[in-house]
Amino acid sequence: MTIHTIKSTRRSFLAGAGLVIGFTLAPKVFSANALEGVQAGGAETLSAMNAFVKIGADDTVTVLSKHIEFGQGPFTGLATIVAEELDADWSQMRAVHSPADDKVYANLMFGLQGTGGSTAIANSYDQLRKAGATARAMLVAAAAAEWNVPASEITVSKGRIMHAGSGKESGFGALAAKAATQTPPAEPKLKDPKDFVLIGKELPKLDTLSKTNGTAVYTLDITADNMLYAVVEHPAHFGATVKSFDDSEARKVAGVVDIKQVPQGVAVYADNTFAALKGRAALKVEWDLSKAETRSSDQLTADYAKLFGEKGLQATHNGDVDKAFGAAGVQSLEATIVFPFLAHAPMEPLDAVFIKRPDGSVDVYNGAQFPGMDKNTAAKVLGLDSSKVRINTQITGGSFGRKAQFGSPYMQEAAAVFGATDGTRPLKHMWTREDDIRGGYYRPMYVHKMRGAMDANGQIVGWDQTIVGQSIMGKADLDDSSVEGASDLPYTIPNLRVISHNTKLEVPPLWWRSVGHTHTGFAVETFVDELLQKVGKDPVEGRLALLQKEPRHTGTLKKVAEMANWGSPIPEGRQRGVAVVKSFGSYVAQIVEISLGEDGTPRVHKVWCAVDCGIAVNPNVIAAQMEGGIGYGLGAVLFDAITLGEGGKIVQSNFHDYRSLRINEMPAVEVAIIPSTEKPTGVGEPGVPPVGPAVANAWRRLTNNPVRQLPLVNVLSA
């Protein structure tokens, strides 16, 4: 199968005649031979609200996903919500990315279009139920008019519209055109959740087939005739800039077309990817380090520790912590925990394709997590009005937060590279894995200082936590994302203080799958476990006693303990650890079983996981996100650090020294979803935070060594 057949099947499906509820379709203007393999669905002009549902003459229902599909399942989840209220059959459902529009397709929790914070289902749930119900009402109105029967007598089930009295029956497609002309109801009637037939069912994902036969088209797969391939030579120090460069050897490489300096480095343009890479390798660039970060990770750790005891930003202070620690009969425990920088390392590195159209407008194809921001950024860099830039969001090979950046710095680079050409040739800009690993926008380094106070009765009476690290949001005052999970500690401890210090460095920070909970979850859950052990309490029972005001933490913790048969004998040489973390409105408790591996590092055999994310829209996707979150979090905790070496030079460069979890290291995973009638919350991130502390807790109980520095394996092998 070639890419040409992909194009024809995709486009014939998407370009098929049919109903577009709530917005109009602009004609597709791709020239027949200029572009191959582009997933359609991104270049439409919208004119109204409820621009989420299209029905084809062939009965297909296409949901326009305002959220990017990079593996967390919004295509399937959002389509499930629409299909439920539309009474569609699952087999007729499709999903594509919506166009970029910060108003119509705003994330209702962000105020602009964007995917992140595990919000796709949570913010879309009511909106897409209404979109589905509206479409259903319009189809029913069309049928009533067509058949001359009362709308109230018409039923819809599994994609069939029926009138029992007359025996009339139709699919959606035949009535779609007429339905489009109906007035949408102001307030469509929504189902009682007890009547749901699709929400809560194990429905197959919509995007699986194309992802198993090579036909799924990612940004990197887009080609156009006469396309240029571009890569940029970047510095190995953050904050470094180009002083001078010698491109004489690079220009001799066959296929290299041009070399230009851009603000981010030196761009090599070539006729194919390999020529661009070979040309880049032949460049000699001298970097100006005068404004670069020259401190090493070790120096940063030492500098961060100096801030302990300095006046910081108070995130929480309940009771009187100093008094609690000074009280008679109180024993205390202290710990300092060091967290490294982490790269996201999605499988598909950052990339974008630019095509200038004859009218001077530009189509951008990329994995846009903030499409509106990417659009405005590309327009600004290219000197165009933003109406002249179209963002065509592509399915994307992972992100984990990497592709959501305020100010779109990646797009600044990619657009600068395209903008430095005359624009006559389409251009693909890609980052290599090295660019990705060394590209910054990391989960920042953090150092936590923990103090806990226990009274003579074995009660935890004081908790004093200081968190030092960069503000992801770039704030000078308190950044909630630095302290979330600690400042709102779920455990009832009468004297609680959480202090934050924002640090400034040249290494750009970014949210990394589960954001602040990546470190606060670890610090809180390992330290509470250690305090409970000190006072001789069981990790599960001890937590439950401190969580009496938190029914949903309690529910997941009890469930996971039941799944793992907590308290039953553990096989010789093995140990268990537990953790429970609420993040992004969802509650996840995990128990892990580990042993000492042959290489002296933890071997994780099994993870039991209980999740409460409100109404479970698609249990299959939820389970997948728990499994994946566990593997992603486990790999980072065991293996991963980006370190700045002597002089601030980035040490790691690719998967050989920035390890990913591999299949032989993946534990068996068992997931249970707590039944709930609460509004649905997210699952993309919440599976991540508990696994690290659960492993560290098991490790401490197995070896008597508390984990004070991540990753575990670097520390053990150092």
């Binding site: 994902k205 036969n213 090579g214 194919n272 994307t396 090979g397 992972g398 591999r662």
Partner: protein
């Protein structure tokens, strides 16, 4: 001029002989199911079959492919491939999906040699394929499921 067989068809390449097979497939043959992930044979996203065994196309200069037979995700067939595809779809293995072509190429090669693999066999054959979404749990299950259906 380098001549090789690609998914059953005779192909030629007369560009830079150092060009890795990966970029020949993607940029010249427009077969983009085979992915770039690391360029140094660490992640397996670029896995193809060369003369019947798995090969990381990102470190395979096209000059070494002369006279060989290459099969990519677009051309893979046979009972093992069918069983793997079916099993992958049945339990929704992919998340982002980007690594899955490579995973499937490795899994098919495993079943061609070892029709009834143990967990250790799976670890041995699949540990070179990184999945950042960590779909490993389902990959393992799908390989076992595929082996079971091939038996039946």
């Amino acid at each position: 001029m380098i001549t090789f067989k690609l998914n059953g068809q005779q192909r030629t390449f007369d560009g830079d002989p150092e060009t890795p097979l990966l970029w020949v497939l993607r940029d010249f043959e427009k077969l983009t199911g085979t992915k770039y992930g690391c360029g140094i044979a660490q992640c397996g996203a670029c896995t193809v079959h060369m003369d019947g065994t798995t090969r990381r196309s990102c470190i395979t200069p096209i000059s070494t492919v002369d006279g060989s037979e290459i099969v990519t995700i677009e051309g893979i067939e046979g009972k093992e491939a069918e069983a793997i595809h079916k099993a992958w779809v049945a339990i929704d293995v992919p998340q982002c999906g980007y690594c899955q072509s490579g995973q499937i190429m490795s899994a098919v090669a495993l079943l061609q040699v070892t029709p009834k693999p143990t967990d250790d066999d799976i670890d041995g054959a699949m540990a070179g394929n990184i999945c950042r979404c960590a779909t490993y749990h389902r990959i393992r299950q799908a390989i076992h499921d595929a082996a079971d259906t091939m038996e039946g």
